[in-house]
Each structure stands twice: as C-alpha cells, then as structure tokens.
Symmetry: C2
Subunit: 512 residues, 2 copies
C-alpha cells in the first residue's frame, strides 16, 4: 500500500497501447457525464481521471491525450486540462515525460489477492435473522418518498427547502472554519467534549429565544434531535421502566423507547395537548411536544403546562420535552417551553439546529441538569464520542456572526406567509376535512371523513404530483388516525401552494 509501483520506461514507450489512443469516442465515453455548465469543471475532470485509473479503465502506462486534444473532445478550455494534468502529476496519478506527454502512473500496492465475494448461501436472510438480538426493520416508520423533491407539490414536513438555505452566509462560516487555527480546533478527538464555542453560542443566542438559560455543563450537542432522544432513552429506560408517549405521537420516539422496554404507555391528548391523568402519573418518564403537539400541532396552553409540571413534580415523572420546531415561525400565541417554566427540574429539553438550516447537517442538543449531562456525555462517548467537530465549529461561527438570527427572521417571514395562504385555501378546497394548527407550527393536521384510508389517499395524491404524509403511523393503534394526514409547508414553494391544495382537494373529493 502507499508506494507507487515503478513505471518502467518500456511500459510507457512500447508495450502498452494507450486505450483508444486519440480516439475521441473512448475519451468521450470516459468523461461521459461531465457537466460543462457546472462549477468546478477542472475538479470534475480530475475526479473522472482518478476513477478511471483506480478502476482500471486507464491502465498503467496508458498515454493521455494531449491537453489540446482532450480540451477539444470535451469542449472545455485547454487551460482546464493543463491544470488538471499538473495536479495529477503532483499526486503521482500521472507522470509527465518530456516531449512525449502524460502517462498513467502505477497504482499503490493492494493488500492480498483475495476478494470478498460471499457465497450465495451467505446472502440468506434467515441465517442472519436467527442471530439478531432485535429487528429494527420491523418498526413502523414515517414513510416519505425519498425523491420528494421531484414532485411539484411536496407538502412534506421538516425537509430541506433549497430556496431558504442561507448559502452565502453558510459558505462564509464554512470557509472561516478552514483556516489553519480553526482546523487545529476541530480536527482533534474531544473524547466526550463538544466545541465550547458552539455551547457558548447556544447559551448566548439560541436558548434565550426559548426563554431558557443554562450553564455550559447543562448542555450537550447531539447528531440531530433524534440522537438526543436515543441517548436520554438509553440512560433512563430499563427493561421494566414505564414511559408514556402522546397518542397519537411521534413514531420514532415510540420506536426508540420500544427498543428498551415493552412498557411504552399511550397517553391521552386533547385539544390542549398531553393530559396529566392517572396514566401519565403512573409513568417514570413521559415524552411531550408542548410547543406543537406531534402530530396534531396544537399548542399546549399555559395553564395545562403548569398543571403538567405540577403533576410531574408530585409524581416524579421526568418530562422529555421535544421542542422540535419551536423557533421557526414567530407567531402570536406561542408560549414558553416547559423547560423555561420548570421549577422542579423535571424537564429534559431536546432541540435541533439542523431543522432550521439543513436536515443533512444533523445538529441537535440536550439541555438538562448537570448530573444528567455528565452521564449522557459518558454514554455518547461510548456510542460515537462526539458529533463531528468541524460542523460544530461552522455552526458556532454561523451563529456567532449573527447569521442564525437573520436566517430565522427570513425563514419565519416566509413560513408565516405560507401559513396565512393555507389558512385561506383549506376552507375553500378541503371542505371534506377538518384541521388543526397551533401558533408557530410548520404543519397542519387534517382529518378526513371517518373510514378514509389516507395511505391510499397519499398514493393517489402522489400520482397528481402532491406529497402528503398519511396519519396511521402516528398512532399506536394503527386504525385510530388512518383517516388523518399531516400537511407540512416548510418545503413547498410559496407560489405552488394554491395549485397543490386545489389538486389535493380534487383527490379527496374523489375518494370521499
């Protein structure tokens, strides 16, 4: 490995026939897929040559076309090819020989001649099935078409809207994190630590927006909010622990808890969210979405919040508050999260940064009392040490430069406008439905006539280019919310909303 095999002169000069020589067809096919309008043309050329060398299409000693010829075949500037070739020489992928051009250099020695090609018997699922301690694929999940961006009317929840991403501001922050001192900050293994700069920015700019003050030893960064739920669950739930979940509620939370205990207790909700009833009081922990109940989107009124905290305090119920889209839309009627009202320290708070920015970034956090954070850090250390530090540093710079605040202001305005439009459209086009959406929520929860199968409805809607999320998966009792669906508006373009709702209305009328 590592060493470049010697390139013998004879290989170059004589024995190896350059594949295709100057044959434009060969080179054209090798660079098939080159995006001439794309940026980084020179990088694309280099990637394609490296690939062809690595997979053997360009063998050792093959002569590359002259930069002039290749530029002509690819219809790019000659300079692009010259720079690409020179870089590949620096990397030892090519060698330059005076007056004869560029040739493919050797590949590093690969270890072992054997290859991993499992026999067909091995592919047998049954053999493996008998060895698994659990079957994560067996859990019911929210299903979103992965290609939702290909649909013209994606009323999908919590996904990325390219038109809202703060491209230039993110770039500025990401580039700043590539300076040598910053690389030294993020390149190390922090064992169980986090980037202190990100913790500081959460304290200074993010948590105060939610009325929460926390010390640095009360905060931990996670790989998205979901990871925070997983860690809390693992720390607190033993095989006999009773944990309550809202019914209907967030299926991934239910699934995570179900990995650890059979005692996942459905808890009643009403128009004010989770009810502090006897079932609630019987639980050791309860998962709650007070800001906007998932999936019904109702806001828990202040009196209910205090009642819930009171019940939690007197019965020793630990509340896991998932404030999953708490800060996206600035709208009258929002209320402070349970964490900020809590006087008994019964609340563990879960928040997300990636929802406001880009889900692909996976940045979330937990706020909890220091003894809890201490154990969570030790657990996270065992599981994966820490979330990537380069992303923590970019996020810290992004927030620290004021971009987070101005981004939220911009996103909030857009989302609020979309909600106002939908408020007007739903009564007009979806007369067969009822719906709820509390202040600040980024989705509506709609109920069709009883008996409607929204799985089928979603399928029919997709055929019309409209993506909605069927409601069945949110209930432990599958049939209970089969006639409901979630309608998100954080990923659909504002000007497409009306046409989408009109189409959806027609599909619903057809089904009803």
């Amino acid at each position: 490995m590592g060493k470049i095999a010697d390139l013998r002169q004879s290989d170059v000069a004589g024995r190896v026939t350059p594949p295709g020589g100057t044959d434009a067809l060969f080179w054209g096919s090798l660079f098939h897929g080159l995006d001439r309008d794309g940026s980084f043309l020179q990088l694309q050329v280099r990637q394609m040559i490296v690939s062809a060398i690595e997979d053997g299409r360009l063998p050792l000693g093959a002569r590359m076309p002259s930069s002039r010829d290749l530029a002509a075949v690819l219809k790019v500037s000659r300079n692009t090819i010259v720079i690409a070739y020179e870089q590949l020489v620096d990397q030892n992928f090519l060698v330059a020989r005076e007056r004869s051009g560029y040739f493919v250099a050797g590949l590093p020695r690969h270890i072992g001649a054997t290859t991993h090609e499992p026999s067909p018997a091995v592919r047998d699922d049954d053999r493996w099935a008998s060895r698994f301690a659990l079957r994560p694929t067996a859990y019911r999940n929210i299903v979103k078409p992965l290609d939702w961006q290909a649909y013209p009317y994606p009323f999908i929840f919590g996904q990325f809207d390219p038109s809202l991403f703060p491209t230039n501001d993110w770039r500025e922050s990401a580039r700043a994190a590539l300076s040598v001192p910053e690389i030294n900050n993020w390149a190390r293994d922090m064992i169980d630590g986090d980037d202190p700069a990100l913790i500081e920015q959460l304290q200074l700019q993010v948590l105060p927006r939610r009325g929460i003050r926390a010390r640095s030893d009360e905060i931990m960064i996670t790989i998205g909010a979901q990871h925070a739920l997983y860690l809390i669950a693992k720390l607190f739930i033993g095989p006999t622990t009773r944990i309550g979940v809202e019914e209907p509620g967030y299926p991934d939370a239910r699934n995570i808890f179900g990995l650890l205990t059979p005692n996942v207790v459905p808890l009643r909700i009403d128009g004010e969210g989770l009810m502090p009833d006897a079932d609630f009081e019987s639980c050791a922990l309860a998962y709650v979405t007070a800001s906007h109940q998932c999936p019904t989107a109702v806001v828990m009124p202040l009196a209910r919040r205090h009642a819930l905290l009171q019940a939690a305090r007197s019965c020793g119920v630990i509340l896991i508050e998932d404030d999953y889209d708490g800060e996206l839309i600035p709208e009258e009627g929002e209320l402070p999260p349970l964490m900020s009202l809590d006087r008994g320290s019964n609340v563990l708070y879960v928040g997300s940064l990636s929802k406001a920015l880009a889900p692909g970034l996976r940045l979330g956090y937990v706020v909890a009392p220091a003894p809890v954070i201490r154990e969570l850090r030790a657990l996270r250390r065992l599981m994966l040490r820490h979330p990537p530090l380069n992303n923590q540093r970019v996020a810290a710079l992004f927030i620290g430069l004021g971009h987070y605040r101005s981004h939220l202001a911009r996103v909030g305005d857009v989302l609020l406008e979309r909600a106002r439009i939908l408020d007007g459209l739903l009564p007009r086009y979806l007369r067969h439905c009822t719906w709820s959406r509390g202040a600040g929520s980024t989705h509506y929860w709609l109920s069709c006539r009883p008996g409607t199968d929204t799985v089928k409805l979603a399928e029919l809607a997709r055929a019309e280019g409209v993506v909605i999320e069927p409601g069945d998966v949110f209930s432990m009792n599958e049939s209970a919310s089969r006639h409901c669906f979630r309608l998100g508006f954080s990923s659909i373009r504002t000007e497409r909303i009306e046409a989408g709702i009109e189409r959806l209305g027609k599909v619903i009328a057809r089904v009803a």
Copy 2:
C-alpha cells in the same frame, strides 16, 4: 421571535446614552481578545459586536463609534470596520442613520420572561442517580490528557498531528462541497441512507487497498469506527449473548458490549493474536483486531487467520474485525484482513476514515452482508438517522480527487520513518523494557519490570513533558497489564522523538 423590535427615533437620538461613547477603554474591552495576526479579522469584529448585542453589553439604541475611531482603537484598517458595519446593517443588528452614524438595532422578541434556574436541591446527584437505568460514567476508560498538544513529547495513540493534515487538499474538497448543486445533495434528510458518492469511493479506492470488494448494499457509513461497534453490538447482543473480547483488548469495545450483556468473555491471546480455543468457540460473537492486536500490536499470521476463520465457521462465531489502523503504514509483513480471507461470511468489518484524516471528523464504516447492513441502517435511523451528509460529501470529493491516496502515501512515509527511528532508540534508552510492534502498527506495546505501576510512571513522565498511555485499562483484570504501556507515534513530531524517548528512559530507570 424573529421580528426585530422597532427602533424608535427617540431611543436613538436622545434617551439611550451610548455606553462609554467614544471611550476607548470601553471599546477596547469589548474587543478584548481580537487576534490582529489572525485571519478573518473582519469576521472577528462582527462576532464580537453580535455577542455584545446579544448579551446586552451593547443595548438597544447604543451609538457605535465611527469606523475611523474604532479602527484607531483596534489598530485595524478602517475598511475592515466599514465592511463589518455594513454587514451588520444587512443583518439588522445595526441601523445606519444619515449623518449620525451606526446604532444598535433591537433584538428579536424572546419567548417567555421566565428563566431556567434550577434550585440547588435539583443539582443533587443522588436524586438523579436513582433514576438512571445505567451509569456510563462508571466504566473504566482510556484516559488521555485532553491538553496533550501542550506537551512537547506526546507519544499518544490515534490523535491528530497538525503537521500531517492535508490542509490545502481538504480545503479544495470542502469548498467544492459548497457549490449550490452540492449543497442540494447534502442538505437533505436521507432517512437511513448515505451519500452514494462516498459509498462508491469506498468501493473504488478505500476497500481495495485492504483486499476487500463489497457491493453498495454491504457498506454503511458511521460516526467513526466506535459508532460502528456500538451499532453491531446493539444489533447482535441480547442480555444472554456471550461475546468474546481479546484480553488484553480495546476497553471501549468491552465497555460497549458490557452495556448489553454481563457475558463479556475474556479470550486468550498469544504472540500471534487471538487464539481459537474452547472459550472462543463458546461465544456467539468475538471482537478481534487481527491487523494489529490492540494493545499488543502483534500481527496475526496467515495460518492463525485461517484457523480462526475455520473455527468461527464451524462453531458459528461471528467475528467483529476492527481494522482500526490497517492502512496507515505501508510496511512489508502486513497481511490481508480476515474479511478479505473469509469464505463463510462470518466477518463484520469495521474501518475508519477519520483516523487517517482528523479524529474530529468522525467518519467510519461497516462492511457486512446485506441482511446485516439492512438492519444496521434501520437501527442507525432510529438512533440518529445518518452521519452528517456534508462531511460525507467532502470525504467523497477528497477521495475522488485522488487526495486520499496521495495523503496516505505521504503519511505512510512519515510514520514509517518514525517507526524506524524508534526501532533504533528503544534498545538504547529503554533497556528495562521489552516491546512488541507488528508491521504497519502506529504504536508499540511496552512491558516494564513486573510490579511497575505505569499509571504512576505516566504521571512522572508527564511531569517531564512526555505523554504515554498506561496499560492497566486494557485488561479486564486490572493488575494484569499494569506494568505495560502504549507508546503511539502518530502525533509526535519526528524530530522530537529521540529527546522524548531519552527522557522517558530516565523516568523508567528512576522508577525501576
């Protein structure tokens, strides 16, 4: 939230006294810590102003110094301040008023007036201790001083060496990942998926170096190799599962398994690594470091590899192969990993990208049969969905542009030189010790005279500026390897090795 509070003229013109006015002392203290030699001076200034506005040191309506005055106080160019102010105006942190200068604009509305200030009783560890289902802090861990970079002679294993980081090549890849089409690739939620470009590069350039061929449905990306171990453990280990670990062995693997079962079985090793004995055959799974046994660094010979695979096949033992530093040093005597020799598909392979690049990045992977990868993906989805996609894309570009290969060649040369130097120095300065290091390993395993306490030795060495890692934590029986220590050389500068070993030799002689 989000809305910038109105800035009333009267606030600006009259009532609010700018704090300190042109007082150079005030502004000097506000910008205390400005690194004039650092890059991104203008960004630093903006971050400091944003911070001061967010935490109230610069209240609503405060008048900023003129760009000329502030530039004079901070001794930076006036243009730096002008650009910073203009950007802050765009972001609504400041407002500009004709002929009177720049003023602090309002902060967004914060939700709730209450603050989270837990009462002292709450801080009580005991109250929480009774609620935890497990105590992750109670596990014994490898302890490295977090500030190891501050020591002149850090013989530490697996940490970052700034002199080896491929700064320019990483930057090129990171910048390429910031183009608009690339952002659209990585910003989305992939649910249980990974970046197909990174999977492809692993198939094309990374796995072949280890003699492994795998289909795309046999590979999954993880948050570092440790996360891969955790996921595999969680999938396969139930409360009664017997899992074998090398003794001595990697403590974090032992700890992860110990979270899931009490039946963690110590397995015997000899000078050829793990032995396929009756204890081994009694296990459902066994964790093995064949390339370089952790911590003894011995390379398992080919015959032992085949014997182990044979025993695993006939007794149904699943092997978890942690190839933790398999590809860093190109050295004669290395052998293909078990995975590449396996004919019975009994091997689950764990690898790391972040070890070769930067531990802070946390990028690892699993190679395993498709039915296993399918369950691992479902489990990872519940736990955290997927490793951040922006880092996956940067890594894919870095490898695809050929940088990974040339980086490994460079790192390999440097590390091999360090090993050669140490091979010469150890007999000279550490005569009281014996040691082992197999081909390709990035550390030595040293044994002092029986009775030596290397925890104390490490402490004394640190006082001399030398960092080593005591051996006790590697054994389940703490006292078994208390006289041993690990000496890594991937983070110490080559020219410092001799002085460090000389100092270490003196400390050992003193203790012995």
